[in-house]
């Protein structure tokens, strides 16, 4: 019984980032605060994916990232698959950075996160512009990307703290 309880606790604690990713995709909670400050919005899903794929890819998993993207598309009314591609692009950049980086610090993470945001938004814009009738405001998306980049260190600190209470194996 004690072992079962311990295993359940470990599973739950380790699944919190994944649950958060799914919950942000499926729920009405958003990180778009136009009611308080017109230009303030940021993409927490991208931060979660980038951080955990960089630190320990077993926490999220590419399959879950793909499904979270599909759910996000349905909820947001975007063409199906577009968020998945964008999220997987972030995951790809994080995996690449993990392969080539030895010393990881907040500043290397933050700087390389800029590449992830750039490629993710680039893919988004190319697909929406060429394959969809949706009109998008480039200014709003730029603000969104800017604030996502700006808030990364704060979320990084929170996740770093949380990582200490997780029961993680060394990443493979």
């Amino acid at each position: 019984m004690a072992i079962l309880y311990k295993n359940l606790r470990i599973s739950f604690v380790n699944s919190v980032p994944l649950i958060t990713l799914y919950y942000l995709s499926i729920s009405e909670i958003d990180t778009h605060f136009s009611n308080m400050f017109e230009i303030l919005s940021f993409n927490l899903q991208i931060i979660i994916i980038y951080y955990w794929m960089l630190k320990n890819s077993s926490v999220l998993g590419n399959g879950h990232i793909f499904f979270a993207g599909i759910i996000n598309d349905v909820v947001m009314g975007l063409p199906l698959g577009i968020s998945s591609i964008s999220y997987l692009t972030v995951s790809f950049v994080a995996s690449y950075i993990r392969q080539v980086t030895v010393n990881i610090s907040l500043f290397t993470d933050w700087f390389t996160f800029l590449l992830a945001i750039f490629f993710s938004n680039l893919v988004y814009l190319i697909l929406i512009t060429n394959f969809s009738d949706l009109q998008i405001s480039y200014v709003d998306i730029s603000y969104n990307a800017f604030f996502t980049f700006l808030f990364y260190p704060f979320i990084w600190a929170v996740f770093n703290f949380y990582k200490k209470i997780m029961f993680l194996r060394a990443d493979d």
Partner: protein, 283 residues
């Protein structure tokens, strides 16, 4: 030089193909699947459209359930405020009630008169025709789309393009219909274009959403000198919306004419869909 190119290639290949012990799918496999789904959806492939309708209904319901506990928080907060307010008000009211007792009959008479006048006003403002009340399931704000999800779909007779009103005021139109739910594109969305009319001379223009809270009037007459505080109505020129649905009041913003919407798009709980006869050629 050659060695660094090799390292780059190895890192890219590893990031794309390596699954790891606990990963079931490689990145490249999922990217291909996502791209295929995206292309099938973009080119309106029938099988994926049908699957999407089923997935949409399921996810919208799940979204509604998952956010239900959070919707209770503001209500609890309101209840606490109301209770505190009620206790303090109760003390004041007890003192004042004696004064009001003398005017009771007069107040009752005025109240009845007010109610009957209000009923007359309400009945005049209502839009004629068959309509259906719908609950807003989801109003997730996004930098990409300003839209809401309602709990009525093709089962209730909803068709793409139908106007959606809040009370008597236009809030948007149906752009996506599932079996049990639909998506409403709000007037302030960047993709929203509604023909409207306003002013004594019945000036015609297009109400264009700008992604902000107040949409803008475009295609105004060349020599028109704009001014504010005029009521804007749908013109019905597109053959989609019935004419005369109130939309908002004009407001000057330097040289632009913006429209202050009667119905706040961020505060919708229930809306009414006008079940008008829709012609598919309109879309």
């Amino acid at each position: 030089m050659s060695s660094s190119r090799d390292d780059f290639g190895i890192a890219i290949r590893s990031a794309l193909l390596k699954k790891g012990a606990r990963q079931k799918f490689s990145l490249v496999f999922l990217l291909i699947i996502a791209t295929i789904i995206f292309l099938l959806d973009s080119y309106q492939f029938k099988a994926i459209q049908f699957t999407k309708v089923i997935i949409n209904d399921g996810i919208y319901r799940l979204t509604n359930i998952s956010t239900a506990p959070l919707k209770l928080l503001p209500q609890i907060n309101d209840k606490i405020k109301e209770t505190t307010f009620a206790i303090s008000e109760n003390k004041k009211l007890k003192a004042e009630i004696q004064n009001f007792k003398n005017k009771e009959f007069q107040v009752e008479f005025l109240k009845n008169q007010n109610d009957s006048l209000r009923r007359i006003l309400d009945s005049d403002a209502k839009i004629k025709g068959e309509s259906i009340l719908a609950k807003v399931l989801l109003d997730k704000d996004s930098p990409y789309l300003k839209s809401i999800i309602i709990n009525r779909g093709s089962k209730s007779g909803i068709i793409k393009g139908m106007p959606v009103v809040d009370g008597s005021y236009l809030v948007g139109k149906i752009v996506e219909v599932n079996y049990l739910s639909s998506r409403v594109l709000l007037l302030n969305d960047l993709n929203s274009r509604i023909p409207i009319t306003f002013g004594e001379n019945s000036i015609q223009a297009i109400l264009s959403g700008k992604g902000k809270s107040k949409p803008m009037l475009t295609y105004l007459p060349d020599l028109y000198e704009p001014y504010g505080n005029l009521t804007v109505f749908t013109s019905g020129k597109d053959g989609v919306f019935p004419p005369g649905i109130p939309v908002g009041k004009t407001e000057m913003d330097e040289l632009d004419v913006k429209v202050n919407l009667f119905s706040d798009p961020n505060q919708l709980s229930f809306v009414t869909v006008q079940l008008i006869n829709m012609n598919k050629d309109n879309f």
